[in-house]
């Protein structure tokens, strides 16, 4: 990060290559489509490199990075709301970057319907609950790490995940 703070372009590129996978994964699951996720990723790294000089070496980079990711995701959704855009509702945005299916065609269709239902349920969650679920379920962050990323208390994270689980249970319950 010291070389990043000095504006070393090669250092920036190296940092980007190391960190972009999980930043993109989280942004894609949150935004629901690849185009918006790529905008978020670019915003995250431009913001990170622009403020590299204020990064304290005692802090953990991933902790700081998750906070930037969370802020950018929430800001991007707020901008989309102001533009009166409806959130993405399916898994179409995930197909192009997902691992290929290895099932029989009829099972693929059934599985695709389940995935669409799950994606809709996640995207229907309030944004902070959605972020908490993504960071916990898909990125394996602890409550303390999620609290740091969302700049809230651990008890707030407990509440977010509890409400998210209730919402998901309701959305995914068999009818």
């Amino acid at each position: 990060m010291a070389r990043v703070a000095q504006g070393d372009l090669l250092a920036w590129r190296t940092l980007y290559e190391r960190q972009r996978d999980y930043v993109f994964r989280a942004a894609l699951r949150f935004m629901g489509n690849e185009a918006d996720a790529r905008d978020v990723v670019q915003d995250v790294f431009v913001s990170l490199f622009s403020r590299a000089g204020s990064f304290r070496t005692s802090g953990k980079l991933t902790t700081y990075l998750w906070r930037v990711v969370a802020n950018r995701c929430l800001n991007e959704r707020a901008r989309a709301r102001n533009r009166a855009e409806a959130p993405a509702s399916g898994v179409a945005g995930l197909e192009s970057v997902a691992a290929p299916e290895e099932r029989a065609p009829d099972r693929q269709l059934e599985h695709r319907e389940v995935r669409e239902q799950v994606q809709r349920a996640i995207l229907a969650l309030p944004e902070r609950q959605r972020l908490a679920v993504i960071l916990s379920r898909y990125e394996g962050l602890s409550y303390e790490e999620i609290a740091s990323a969302l700049e809230c208390s651990v008890s707030s994270v407990e509440s977010l995940l509890f409400r998210a689980r209730q919402g998901l249970a309701k959305a995914l319950s068999p009818r």
Binding site: L9, L28, L94, E95, V118, Y143, R165
Partner: protein, 154 residues
């Protein structure tokens, strides 16, 4: 344990966040409450179902777009900050700091001296007629200058 507390503890238990006593109390409550058992089953199934989303294996490479935005920012701020950055770097290079301070002090003193000399050289001179009178009569007009009729001096 009340059901509202039990349901929150169900969520915490899924992440291993309960103490032994709390976990034991939850088990006891679930044994007696069918509604909370259903809630636990529904939450557990929903959480498991999240695994149905595909694993994301490919990340687009947007480095060129990021680099272009960063270069744009540096260009805009460069002429604000970069012009003095060499001075800032020189100042904070400790071994050169005293030498730099000495040079700057010498420049200031030289500037003051040059300014003083220039001010004497550029000070308004008495007109030629007054100088001639002073040379002829051995004295220099004390207050102001004598306006010699027809000389144009004022």
């Amino acid at each position: 344990m009340r059901c509202t507390t039990a349901r929150k503890h169900i969520s915490l238990d899924m992440d291993g966040r309960l103490t032994q006593d709390e976990a034991a109390a939850l088990v006891a409550h679930l044994a007696a409450c069918a509604e909370c058992r259903r809630e636990r089953e529904a939450m557990g199934q929903a959480w498991t179902a999240l695994g149905a989303l595909p694993e994301i294996t490919s990340t687009p490479d947007d480095w060129r777009a990021i680099a272009a935005r960063l270069e744009g920012r540096r260009g805009m701020s460069g002429w604000l900050n970069g012009g003095w950055s060499w001075l800032e770097e020189l100042w904070f290079a400790a071994p050169r700091r005293w030498a730099l301070a000495t040079v700057m002090s010498a420049c200031v003193l030289a500037g003051v001296a040059a300014g003083a000399r220039m001010s004497r050289e550029l000070a308004p001179q008495p007109p030629l007629e007054a100088l001639a009178l002073a040379e002829a009569f051995g004295e220099f007009p004390a207050a102001g200058w004598i306006a010699v009729e027809g000389s144009g001096a004022r």
